[in-house]
Amino acid sequence: MNILAPVRRDRVLTELPQCLRKEAALHVHKGFHPRVTCACQEHRTGTVGRFKISKVIVVGDLSVGKTCLINRFCKDTFDKNYKATIGVDFEMERFEVLGVPFSLQLWDTAGQERFKCIASTYYRGAQAIIIVFNLNDVASLEHTKQWLADALKENDPSGVLLFLVGSKKDLSTPAQYMLMEKDALKVAQEMKAEYWAVSSLTGENVREFFFRVTALTFEANVLAELEKSGSRRIGDVVRINSDDSNLYLTASKKKPMCCP
């Protein structure tokens, strides 16, 4: 049984969104891993098939636009006024990937130094880390390495997906952007992160970016699940679960047919 209503139609992913730059991408395959596609078709996604929440943390210097980025994607709003995040905040975003419900919990952390000790307690258990910097502020790009190091202290570096995101793209000219991108790509390659450039003001690349995060996190989750269960009958529990909901669904579907 699932108390969650169907996901919004614009949160349904049927194919793998592509990376922004091939030079700095987590992988450049055209589609999902074949085993993932197969598992999804056969409803063998294990715990991912149930209410799976992936934790994503967003870190970076203060006022680079972490909150704005999340608000643009989750609420489709943009507030020009700067309002510092106190400690941490989060947003839930529900998706359906290859027919499987999947949720992201986006943890928005404070960039201010004084909240760092509080925010860092929320770093643990992240499956993806989004490090944001301002495309118009070189210093913020330089600080991303420190942010990554801090975030990785609380996490297993091998099991986490990294994204390096340049924000406020609307404020840089193409020439300035090209210069910044060169540096950013280098940093992204060094930290093995996928590079993105977005504008929360105009919305450029915001949706594409979060869809990419969702898809890659989902893929990694399902692969890990398949790995973990190994030869065991994967999805036995899920099957019961899905049968449950199927039973309910068929019942609810048949009812109106019986008494029109």
Binding site: N2, I3, A5, F51, K55, A84, F115, N136
Partner: protein, 341 residues
């Protein structure tokens, strides 16, 4: 007799003088004239016989002299030259006339339609020469006009080309200026954002300094809003804190001893307090999320318009409560139900 002799001689010489054979010939004739008067005087004084023997001799001598002075007598060569000259003049005239006729001929032929063939050459030429000359004048005029217009057109063309070039140059300049403008705007925006960031940083450090010296009135509020049952116990203080923020007495009460060294993380609240507040906020947010989803779920059920039997509803509610607990634990990262992750 003498005058006849001399006469014919003089008469014969006339044309020769006209041919202009030079001064020697004139001298000879002059001499002949003078000899003639002398012989006449001799014959008058001494009778005609006195000079009779002399005259033929003198005439013979004079003729010889004349021959020597004038050169050969008018011969066939000179005559033929004269004739040729005459012929030439005649031919030239004719040629001129023919030329005139020829020039006026083609114009005249289309003029008088079916004009009499029997008409003479000269009247016809005269007939057509007048209008053709008029036409020629008109043609010349027309040609002048067209030439002038062509020249004017060319000048206009040139002018137009020049102007279009100028326009192009101006447009290019405009484009360049627009680019420069856009770039400047971008730079301005970037600088403004940097300024804003710097200002924020500044004000933040300012706030931090202030906070260490003088805890904000929110502290009272924060304590009142702390999670747990205390919140319920003191709703009045919370209301007072929010209703009248920052009454000077409150602030004075909460003031820490001045001159305390500023500490990082000391922001009016203690770190534990902030963590508590956040934890509570997260719980509330998780609840809101779950309630929203639940609401959407029941709304959907209502919309599909079917009644759930009471027993099933009860079971459903229990299941939902269980699931809600699980989801909430996942969202908040609390250890309970960790096995479902």
């Amino acid at each position: 007799m003498e005058p006849r002799r001399v006469g014919p001689g003089a008469h014969c010489w006339g044309p020769r003088v006209a041919t202009g054979s030079g001064t020697a010939a004139e001298l000879v004739y002059h001499l002949a004239g003078a000899l003639g008067t002398e012989l006449k005087e001799l014959a008058r004084r001494f009778g005609p016989e006195a000079a009779a023997g002399l005259v033929p001799l003198v005439v013979q001598a004079l003729e010889l002299l004349e021959k020597a002075a004038v050169g050969p007598a008018p011969d066939s060569l000179q005559v033929s030259a004269q004739q040729a000259e005459l012929e030439l003049r005649r031919l030239r005239e004719e040629n001129e006339r023919l030329c005139r006729e020829l020039r006026s001929g083609p114009q005249g032929e289309c003029g008088p339609a079916g004009g009499g063939e029997a008409q003479g050459l000269s009247p016809r030429a005269a007939n057509e020469n007048a209008p053709s000359s008029e036409e020629r004048a008109m043609l010349r005029q027309l040609k002048e006009v067209t030439d002038r217009q062509r020249d004017e057109l060319r000048a206009h063309n040139r002018d137009l080309r020049q102007r279009s070039q100028e326009t192009e140059a101006l447009q290019e300049q405009l484009q360049r200026l627009l680019l420069v403008n856009a770039e400047l705007r971008h730079k301005l925006a970037a600088v403004q954002s940097q300024l804003r960031a710097a200002r924020d940083r500044e004000s933040e450090s300012e706030r931090r300094r202030e906070a260490t010296l003088e805890p904000a009135p929110e502290q009272a509020q924060g304590q009142a809003a702390a999670p747990g049952c205390e919140q319920r116990q003191e709703p009045e203080t919370a209301a007072a804190g929010t209703g009248a923020p920052g009454t000077p007495e409150d602030r004075a009460d909460a003031l820490p001893p001045p001159g305390r060294p500023p500490k990082v993380g000391q922001c009016g609240f203690s770190r534990e307090e902030v963590e508590q507040i956040l934890q509570e906020r997260n719980e509330l947010k998780a609840n809101v999320f779950l309630l929203k989803e639940e609401l959407a779920y029941f709304q959907r059920e209502l919309l599909t318009d079917h009644r759930v039997p009471g027993l099933l509803l009860e079971a459903m509610k229990v299941a939902i409560r269980k699931q809600r607990k699980k989801i909430k634990a996942k969202m908040l990262g609390t250890p309970e139900e960790a096995e479902s992750r």
